[in-house]
Structure formats: structure tokens, C-alpha cells
């Protein structure tokens, strides 16, 4: 049988050609990381030496707070109602919340954020010393479930979505057009190669690159910014796979009629640009007027980013993003259907 071999050969060929194009490697692997790095640094908290701590009313008396502040001037102890304190923690305005529970003082912080533990250690030291040392205050650490509330936490899934979109569109659309323009497609069509295999190989090669692309970004975000993936890996993999399939399909559609690489570049930019702005890669789309919200919500990148964030930030299973996944699958099916109808081989 030649057929399974043909599909494998076509896929391997696509992967090889891609790996042998250094500039493409840059755009696929390095660019998203630079992007995350730049934005992550630009928007990260510039005053790490201040330690904002919310103190629930009735936890510690004013004298105690004053003594602690004197012992460690970096501590910014702010009395708040329990509700305000929880909000402040969720928004990342404070690193730690102190609360009273019977005889103990509870240290409540977000375990995904490095400043929570540092703040706990500093606060504990000041607290014990202020209490007089002989009878240390009983404390208890409590990790809250509000994960990933920093900008970088929110940004990373968006960058993954953005990367899936651009590599899908460029990786498939540009290469296929180039193959058509240099008559490589015509040469392939002159063989008994099943035509669908060529198209399928583009998608499979895409999946292969995902294995590197996405883990690299996830690892980078974790090592450099301490961004933790809250959800389960299988859910993330499913969302990524469907997202990649969707944008590969759109890449195929974008190039289905294009005769030149210049032509397809224009089309791809027209697809990418609005979604970069509208679909919540760098900032939340809720800032746009209500009138455009329905449009924003049906865009594939919006659906992908929402699904990614549900898993990545909120730790939800993929089933919680069923609506977004359904929309993505719909886009995928429509893109493939149209691309196959319109596809020009010569």
C-alpha cells in the first residue's frame, strides 16, 4: 500500500521544509516568547519592595499594627472589611490577607503568585516580634483558590491563542500558496497522490509543531513569570488542538484561490489584524462598545482565547467551555468545507 506512506511522507516533508526555514522558526517559536516577555515585563508590578497586606477588621488591634509597621516599614497594612480584602487579593492589589479565626491568625494568599509567600514570611516575622516573642501568635496559612489574577497570567493564554492563529494562517496559507506559485502543487497533482493527503499533511504538520510550540510557551511563562496552568493538561491539549485545526482550516481557506504569496499575505493580514485587536489577546474585549460585542463573540480567536483562559486561568475542565469549543468546531467545519470547494491546484 502506498497511501499511508504518502501521507506520512507529505507530513514529514512539510515538517522538514519548515524546520529548514530559520526565519519561520523565529516567528513560530521565538516571537511569541519575546512578545510575552516584553508585555510581561512592561506590565509587571514595578515596586516589589512594598508589601501590601489587607487586614480584616478585628484581626489585630491598632497598637499591634503600628508596632508591626515600625518593625518592617515595607509592610503596608490596610484594615478592610472581609469582602473588600477578598476583592483586593483577587485583583492583585494586596499580596496577603490577614484574618482572625478563633485563636489563630490566618494568612490567606494566592499560591500561584510568588509575592504571596514572600509577604507571608515578612508579615509573620513582624507579627511574632511585635507580639513580644515569649508567646508567639498562632498562625495558619491558607491558600485561596483565586489563581492567576495578574496581567501576565491573563496574557499568556492570549499569546497562545494568538500564536495558534498566526502559525495556522501563515504556516498553512503561505506555504501552500508558495507551492502553488512555483508549480509544486501542479507537479504533485500530476502523480496519483490523493489530493486530500496533501491538505491533511499540512494540518498534521501543524499538530506536530504544536507539541513544541505550546509547551515551550507554557514552560517559559512558568519559569520566568511564575504563571501556572491551573487546569488539566488534557483539557488544554483539546482546546489547543481544536484551535489549531480551526486556524489551519482558515489558512487553507485564505490560500484556496490565491495565486501569489503577496496576495495571500494581504488576505491573512486582513483576517489576523481585527482579531488581534478585538479578540482579547492583549486587553479584554469588554472595553469595546456593546454594539460590537456580538461580532466579537463570534470570532474564532475570541472563542479560542476564552476557552484557553477558562482552562489556563480558571482551572476549569474543557467541558466548561463547551460553547466556545462548539463555535470553534463550527468555524473549522465551515473553513474546511469552503476551502475544499474553492481550492485551486494550479
Amino acid at each position: 500500500m502506498s497511501d499511508p506512506g504518502a501521507l506520512r511522507q507529505l507530513t514529514v516533508t512539510r515538517v522538514r521544509v519548515m524546520l529548514r526555514e530559520p526565519e519561520i522558526i523565529f516567528w513560530v517559536f521565538a516571537f511569541p516568547i519575546f512578545l510575552a516577555m516584553g508585555l510581561g515585563l512592561a506590565f509587571s508590578d514595578p515596586t516589589p519592595e512594598r508589601i501590601p497586606v489587607a487586614v480584616e477588621e478585628g484581626t489585630l488591634d491598632d497598637g499591634m499594627l503600628e508596632r508591626m509597621s515600625r518593625l518592617n516599614p515595607d509592610l503596608q497594612l490596610e484594615p478592610m472589611t472581609p469582602a473588600d480584602a477578598a476583592d483586593a487579593l483577587r485583583r492583585g492589589e494586596v499580596a496577603l490577607v490577614l484574618a482572625r479565626m478563633d485563636a489563630e491568625v490566618v494568612f490567606r494568599f494566592d499560591p500561584t503568585r510568588s509575592e504571596g509567600r514572600a509577604a507571608s514570611a515578612a508579615t509573620d516575622r513582624a507579627l511574632q516580634e511585635a507580639a513580644g516573642g515569649t508567646r508567639p501568635v498562632a498562625i495558619r496559612a491558607q491558600e485561596v483558590e483565586q489563581r492567576g489574577q495578574r496581567y501576565i497570567d491573563w496574557l499568556i493564554p492570549g499569546i497562545i491563542g494568538f500564536n495558534l492563529m498566526s502559525t495556522g494562517l501563515w504556516g498553512v496559507g503561505f506555504y501552500v500558496t508558495q507551492s502553488r506559485q512555483s508549480l509544486q502543487l501542479k507537479r504533485l497533482v500530476a502523480t496519483p497522490m490523493p489530493r486530500g493527503y496533501f491538505l491533511l499533511a499540512q494540518i498534521l504538520a501543524r499538530f506536530f509543531f504544536l507539541l513544541v510550540e505550546v509547551p515551550l510557551l507554557v514552560l517559559f511563562a512558568w519559569l520566568v513569570f511564575g504563571v501556572e496552568m491551573a487546569g488539566d493538561a488534557l483539557s488544554l491539549a483539546l482546546v489547543v488542538l481544536v484551535g489549531a485545526a480551526c486556524f489551519s482550516g482558515l489558512g487553507l481557506l485564505a490560500c484556496s484561490r490565491a495565486r501569489t504569496t503577496e496576495g495571500v499575505s494581504g488576505i491573512i493580514n486582513v483576517i489576523i489584524m481585527p482579531m488581534v485587536v478585538l479578540s482579547g489577546v492583549f486587553f479584554s474585549p469588554t472595553r469595546f462598545p456593546d454594539a460590537v460585542q456580538p461580532l466579537i463573540q463570534i470570532l474564532p480567536l475570541t472563542a479560542l482565547n476564552d476557552a484557553l483562559r477558562a482552562v489556563y486561568n480558571d482551572g476549569l475542565p474543557v467541558t466548561a467551555a463547551a460553547g466556545e469549543m462548539g463555535l470553534l468546531l463550527l468555524w473549522t467545519a465551515a473553513a474546511f468545507f469552503l476551502a475544499l470547494r474553492l481550492f485551486r491546484w494550479q
Binding site: T13, Q184, P192
Partner: protein, 329 residues
């Protein structure tokens, strides 16, 4: 016909079966092919019949319609009119079965630059149910030293040989070669000729297009000369040259014009043509015609700017038919 196109169950070609087919159908037949691109009538009623095991040369100047004709036969271009049968099958009904038995080299198509020779061959080999190994293909086109070289680093001749190797990957019954040697140096041309000849010796059928009359004369059993979308004349190279009525051509440029009838009266002269200031005389025997021509010129006190003689070629046939050179160089 044994080649019925029940999907997935096509009869697979085998080397041993080549030429043994119970069908006596020709390898390629086409009738009344027409194809226009907008107002350009690229092919205007072409009929061809190419026998199995034959090497057939399609000769013609730029824009004659060779590529268009060949690509219609290859099932890559839809004709406006006319019918095509390949090995007794039609593109409409048996496309997949035909594809498996054709080896195609396109005039302009490129191979992926960033693949190595072996990788490109492995890819093409994977499209066919049977055929030679990649190593055998490489050996056949003499690229043994270049197996690990990237396509973009190959010379023109090496690329062309690789392109032919890709066409041979499925052990085809029919090989289509569209100007395989255009732009190659003489050594590379000869290397390709040898590959083509060995395929022919194994019983394969070849349809070759070319601008080069020497290539057609050497390789082709039969030749068709094509111009402006039509076939002007067809036959073996010898037959075509015989239509000139003389085996030799004397080409000279006198300093003053001469009347044709004076030259026709010379011994052994078959035809006389003038083109610009040049006079072309065909004759059977040079040693008869040439001295008397010299005497005539001398008796008139005429001077020669140039005089050459050569054996009549397909170029002369084309010139005689169209008043133009096959290649405008």
C-alpha cells in the same frame, strides 16, 4: 480492456506486464484537441496517435502549443474540444488508474528547494503502489554523489535529472518530458538522452517536446512539427527530411540578388528558397551541385559574403514549411 476503474481495485502496472497488455490500443490517442486561453488559440485541432514503446517527438517554436497539448494529454488541462485516450482509458473515467502509469516531467514546475535529493525521491516514490527503490532511481539518473544535497544546491542539469527520476518513481508505462534539455549544457543534455534511451529500450513509451532538432532526430522514432497550435507534418525524421527533396543544404549570401530559375537549372538542385539576402539550395549530391554553383557565381563576377553547407535537418523542414527558423537565436 483490463483497466476498469473500479475504485480502489485498479490493476497495478508491473514492469513485466509492459507491452504484454492484451489490448492493442495505442499508448496515446487524441482527436480534434482544441484549447483557447481568452483570445489565444493555443491548440487548434490536434490529432495524435502514439504507439506503445515508441518515442514520439513534438517539435515546435515557442508558443506553438506543445506544452498545452501535452498537459491536456496528461490530464492537467481540460481541453475545450476533443477526446483523449491514454492506454485505452479516458481521464473522465479512469483518472486514478492512468495517473499510476504515467511519469510526468513538467516544463516549469520546481521541486521543493529545501529537500534533499533522497527526500524528494522518497516523497514521489510514496505516491505509487510500486516502482524502483530510491537508490535505484538515484543510480539510474547518476546522482549517487548528490543524494544528500539540497535541491536548491543542484546544477540545472542535476535538477533536470532529479525531475526525470521523480517521473520514473512509479515505474511508468508512459513518460512525458516537456523540454527536458532546454537550458542545459551539451554534457547534461547527453546525460539526459541516455536516461531517455534506456527507458525506451525497456519498452517504455515517451512523449518528448523540444526545440532542438538534433534531439528529436536522435531520440524520436517519429516526430510531429507543430506551429500555431497545429501539427504541420508528421513522420520519422528521415521521412520528414526527405520531403525537402534533398539531403544537403547549401546556404549562401551573394552580393547581388539572383533569380531562382538560374539556380534550379544547376545539376542536382532540388529546391531553391530565398530568405532575406540568403539563398538556400537543397540538393542530393554536394559534389555535383557545389562546383557548378561556384562556376555560375564566377561567370557573373559575383562575390560571396558567406557560404555554408550542412546535411538537411528538421530545422530545414520547419523553415521550408513556415519560412521561419525553429529557434530564433
Amino acid at each position: 480492456m483490463t483497466q476498469t476503474a473500479t475504485t480502489g481495485a485498479e490493476r497495478l502496472p508491473r514492469n513485466s506486464e509492459r507491452g504484454e497488455s492484451p489490448s492493442s490500443e495505442p499508448a496515446i490517442v487524441c482527436r480534434g484537441l482544441r484549447k483557447s486561453f481568452g483570445s489565444t488559440h493555443a491548440v487548434r485541432g490536434v490529432n495524435l496517435e502514439i504507439r506503445r514503446g515508441e518515442c514520439y517527438g513534438l517539435l515546435g517554436p515557442n508558443g506553438a502549443g506543445k506544452t498545452t497539448t501535452v498537459e491536456i494529454l496528461e490530464g492537467l488541462t481540460e481541453p475545450d474540444e476533443g477526446e483523449v485516450r491514454i492506454l485505452g482509458m479516458t481521464w473522465g473515467e479512469n483518472a486514478k488508474a492512468i495517473r499510476r502509469r504515467l511519469g510526468i516531467q513538467l516544463q516549469e514546475a520546481q521541486l521543493t528547494e529545501r529537500l534533499q535529493v533522497v527526500e524528494a525521491l522518497r516523497l514521489f516514490r510514496s505516491f505509487y503502489p510500486s516502482g524502483p527503490t530510491v537508490d535505484a532511481l538515484i543510480e539510474r539518473v547518476q546522482l549517487q554523489e548528490k543524494g544528500r544535497t539540497y535541491v536548491r544546491d543542484l546544477s540545472g542539469g542535476q535538477r533536470q535529472r532529479l525531475s526525470v527520476a521523480c517521473a520514473l518513481a512509479g515505474d511508468p508505462d508512459i513518460l512525458f518530458l516537456d523540454e527536458p534539455t532546454t537550458g542545459l549544457d551539451p554534457q547534461s543534455r547527453r546525460a539526459l538522452w541516455e536516461i531517455i534511451e534506456s527507458f525506451r529500450e525497456e519498452g517504455g513509451t515517451i512523449l518528448l517536446t523540444t526545440h532542438f532538432m538534433d534531439e528529436a532526430e536522435r531520440l524520436a522514432d517519429r516526430v510531429a512539427i507543430m506551429d500555431h497550435g497545429r501539427i504541420l507534418i508528421e513522420g520519422t525524421p528521415t521521412q520528414l527530411i526527405q520531403t525537402l527533396g534533398g539531403a544537403h543544404v547549401i546556404e549562401f549570401e551573394p552580393n547581388t540578388p539572383m533569380a531562382d530559375h538560374e539556380l534550379r537549372g544547376l545539376p542536382g538542385v532540388e529546391t531553391v528558397r530565398t530568405r532575406g539576402g540568403m539563398v538556400l539550395v537543397t540538393c542530393e549530391e554536394l559534389h555535383l551541385t557545389l562546383p557548378s554553383l561556384m562556376d555560375l557565381l564566377a561567370s557573373r563576377g559575383m562575390e560571396l559574403t558567406s557560404l555554408t553547407t550542412h546535411r538537411a535537418t528538421l530545422d530545414d523542414v520547419f523553415l521550408a514549411r513556415t519560412g521561419r527558423q525553429l529557434r530564433d537565436e
